[in-house]
Subunit: 419 residues, 2 copies
């Protein structure tokens, strides 16, 4: 681990591990939004914020905000954010690394007696992961003014509690959720683990995130005919699985071609695949595929979606099965980072001699919502073997500290630049 | 419909439709073995047997047997059999056509005052379809002396009743199930719907079944690695679904090649296909495929099973995923028809000028078990569009009558030939 960083790396690591230990005891590491253990985690985070000289409050959407004032009361805030909720059986770094790194930056400024021109905030955004309400990024949506009253009426399947009431239970005031919208943010920076293998693969310390890829989810239904698997000769079949297999193959080939084409990040995955009737002695009649495609460039995504149906039709022709439905079930555009912030982050990594690369995020983050109301950007730190959303998730102590040091330096640069 | 047949075709059809109407009212056509409605159906069949001059008894395994004695008490019996249980949401012909055709033959002999040299029996075999005990051909297994005490201890999932008790509830005597084994059958003939499209496709009246194909079920597990679908670049993935799609494609191609090779009936189907974790945003880590292969020639099946692993390995090489398990979960050899009976059935079809073809059965039937203790053979009558195990299952009245006429003629021929 580098020892000349402006961050107390040991303290940062200890805080991160201590927060991780606040977990459902039966399934580490689990601290789902809206749970009791999540509130315990937040109480811990609030203590760490206060020790770092921050004043802690909850906004009406249930975001926890630690703030130190700057020299000039009229200045907008520089914000460091991420989240402290986890998926079930998740890891110890996703989200928490960003919040604890933000607190470590505040702690260093506090220790060194630095007074910035701008206010500095560390925000623990409520419920970034898909929660029991089937929605992600609840807190950051509200900060962007995009949490709808319809979404507030969503119900949790077991308790039947509605999101509105759950936000209040977290300390928010959902009736006034509009007040959580921010127009006083000068810059938003988020540190997050990569959740992919690229930095490790290329032995880089820092990823400078140019964009959060757009995500389009397509549902494709391929139908043939259910026939007796013993009695129907091969040449008289209309096997939907044989056709769907050809579709998976051609989707993969097309995605590989596009990923290699140099138009930024592009991936496409068939992750959900449902066969009907899925019985050993029946020729499959119907397969439903879910394609998850992510692209840094919107036009590239549009090309993929437009060209896919004829590509699949060609691949399955002759199988007797056919596409009976092809529709986008969700379609989110990419969120671009602010060019000035990218520049500042790059200079900050250079200051420490870290190996960095620009890259797009394939996963969604709170930053996508902040970018609607403020100049925003992110940095990635490495994820061992690209593993995430699993107890095996791992980042080295020195890698977390390196990311925090970059944030610290970026805050100092921005405080001058934005004046 | 032909009118010069030795069968009362209208009566046969009316009986068949009346039996079908004895169904679970909420899901026609359903008359599952061991249910109350199944017993109602059997009471109906027993009445029709008695009217046709048969003496009705139940053997210890719960098979219902209608018998007329022949001229020579020492002669073994000529048996016409099939079953009257159905799958859930099944059809009106599978099994019942064979039982009711057998009764129609007996009725004609009774009407015409024919006394055969041999005893004639019509057997309604218990539970040919896979029942709540997860076992098929319960009655005919017992007739072959192959129903084990272990199988008799099988438990139904809901009621926890064991098969032993269920057989007794059907009127059997499971403690003495060994007594159901027969060594006094001179010939067993079964009429059944084809459950496939070949006869319709070739406009034939009758299929003369040379063999019941052997059935081998293979379970193949292909494993790769679960990764984040957004963040893992295409070239760093080990996608189990992409590999499994290539496996499905190559299994299909190989099956098509073997089916066309002229070694009798061959089909192979991937009917069950399970993807894990089957989540939209996760690269699939594991796929389990179930291959159902059926071959008329045993050596041909052995070749298929032996050559499949290297074929799949070649197809998935480069995907990063691999076969982690390949095993046969069941393996039943083909059951061959008796050559003399095939000859007799062929002459019987010629007598009426029916268009016939020899063919193997891709589906299992009671005949496979009878063939272990007696010379056995089957005939098929057409299934509209090959549909079976569905309410749409259909065979024309004239087609059922044609099959019954062939049985009638074959019984007359055999009675002389076997003397």
């Amino acid at each position: 681990m580098r020892t000349n960083l402006p961050i107390d790396a040991t303290r940062l690591w200890d805080d991160l591990m201590a927060l991780a230990e606040i977990t459902d005891p039966d399934r580490p590491w689990t601290r789902r939004a809206f749970s009791t253990v999540f509130l315990e985690g937040r109480a811990y985070v609030a203590r760490r914020m206060r020790e770092a000289g921050l004043t802690v409050r909850l906004d009406t959407a249930g975001n926890m905000i630690g703030r130190r004032e700057g020299r000039f009361p009229g200045h907008k805030a520089i914000v460091l954010g991420s989240h402290t909720d986890t998926v079930p059986d998740g890891g110890r770094f996703d989200g928490t690394a960003g919040v604890m790194a933000g607190i470590a930056v505040a702690r260093s400024l506090h220790r060194d007696g630095v007074v910035l021109d701008h206010p500095l905030e560390v925000i623990d955004c409520l419920a970034e992961e898909v929660s029991i309400f089937g929605l992600s990024c609840i807190g950051s949506r509200a900060i962007a003014g995009q949490l709808s009253t319809e979404q507030l009426r969503r119900q949790a399947p077991d308790s039947h509690e509605i999101l509105h009431d759950a936000i209040n239970r977290m300390g928010g005031d959902a009736a006034d959720v509009g007040a959580a919208r921010r127009d006083d943010i000068a810059a938003y920076l988020e540190l997050h683990i990569e959740q992919g293998p690229v930095l490790q693969d290329e032995r880089r310390d820092i990823g400078i995130v140019t964009a959060i890829s757009g995500i389009t989810r397509l549902e494709i239904v391929i139908e043939g005919q259910a026939d007796h698997a013993g009695t129907t000769p091969m040449h008289l079949r209309r096997d939907a699985l044989v056709a769907a297999a050809a579709a998976v193959t051609v989707i993969r080939k097309d995605a590989q071609r596009r990923a290699a084409a140099g138009h930024g990040h592009f991936v496409a995955t068939v992750g959900e695949f449902r066969v009907e009737p899925n019985a050993g002695n029946v020729v499959p009649s119907r397969v439903t595929l879910l394609v998850d495609a992510r692209a840094e460039e919107r036009s590239f995504m549009e090309g993929f979606v437009a060209e896919l149906p004829p590509l699949i039709e060609r691949a399955i022709s002759g199988s007797g099965a056919e596409i009976t439905s092809f529709r986008a079930i969700s379609d989110n555009r990419p969120a671009l980072s602010d060019p000035l912030l990218l520049e500042v982050l790059e200079q900050s990594t250079e200051k420490f001699g870290f190996a960095a690369r620009r890259m797009a995020s394939g996963a969604g983050h709170d930053m996508a919502w902040f970018s609607r109301v403020a100049p925003s950007a992110m940095i990635f730190i490495p994820s061992r073997d690209g593993r995430s959303h699993t107890p095996e998730e791992w980042t080295e102590p020195g890698e977390v500290a390196a990311g925090a040091a970059v944030l610290h330096q970026a805050v100092l640069y921005l405080d001058k630049l934005l004046a």
